[in-house]
């Protein structure tokens, strides 16, 4: 049973556009992480959120943990081609989300 559902599954946009990726669950988590995976590589940790309602920023990426700690979002402002990759959320029960594959075109 997949506990973490991500949406959208695929996203194809042009450089400069904004986007939001969602990670949803019916379970409550004590923390949640976001990773990015590029082809041929392992996932790389972007951020960990631990407090309900917490917002963290990493340059053009904004991460939010839901108030009830059941969901999270990742917002990218003015996407660049270097943002292309597979974005994964992962919760404290070590389960990964279903993944969002982002393609940013020049």
């Amino acid at each position: 049973t997949q506990l973490l559902e991500q949406s959208p599954q695929f996203l194809s946009i042009q450089e400069g556009e904004n986007l939001t990726v969602y990670c949803n669950s019916s379970s409550v988590f004590s923390s949640l992480q976001w990773y990015r995976q590029e082809p041929g590589e392992g996932p790389v940790l972007l951020v960990t959120v631990v407090t309900g309602g917490e917002v963290k920023k990493l340059k053009r990426l904004t991460f939010q943990f839901g108030d009830a700690r059941k969901d999270s979002s990742l917002h990218i402002t003015a996407a660049q081609t270097g943002d292309t990759g597979l974005y994964l959320c992962r919760a404290d029960k070590l389960i990964f989300g279903t993944g969002t594959r982002l393609q940013v075109f020049p």
Partner: protein
């Protein structure tokens, strides 16, 4: 080392053969995790260790799959009598503080 080292990078096995994958965690990290990635998206958790002890094995198939983390040796994941559906990329990760994890580059297993 400063990164998780997985070997081999690629492994091809005929159906029914054994496959053994290795993982050297980052020095000082006491947690090791194994994941299976199929279809380029889905990550399936297999097993985790705290030092040489199994921490969580809820994702580990009961048959054919086994794993070890012994002192002073790389951790290993072994698949007996491989099947076509075992073809996947197997990732190892290590951690000093849960739940954050640092991943290796994976071992691509192809069963033919």
């Amino acid at each position: 080392g400063e990164e998780v080292a997985q070997t081999p990078k690629h492994l091809v096995r005929g159906e029914g053969q054994k496959a053994k994958l290795y993982c050297a965690p980052i020095k000082g990290h006491s947690y090791v995790f194994w994941y299976q990635q199929v279809l380029k998206n889905e990550f399936k958790f297999l097993i985790s260790f705290q030092n040489e002890n199994v921490f969580d094995e809820t994702g580990m198939p009961k048959e054919r799959f086994s794993a070890k983390c012994l002192p002073n040796s790389p951790c290993s994941l072994e698949i007996q009598a491989t099947k076509l559906e075992d073809s996947a990329v197997y990732f190892c990760a290590s951690s000093q503080i849960l739940p954050e994890a640092f991943f290796g580059q994976g071992t691509r297993l192809t069963v033919v």
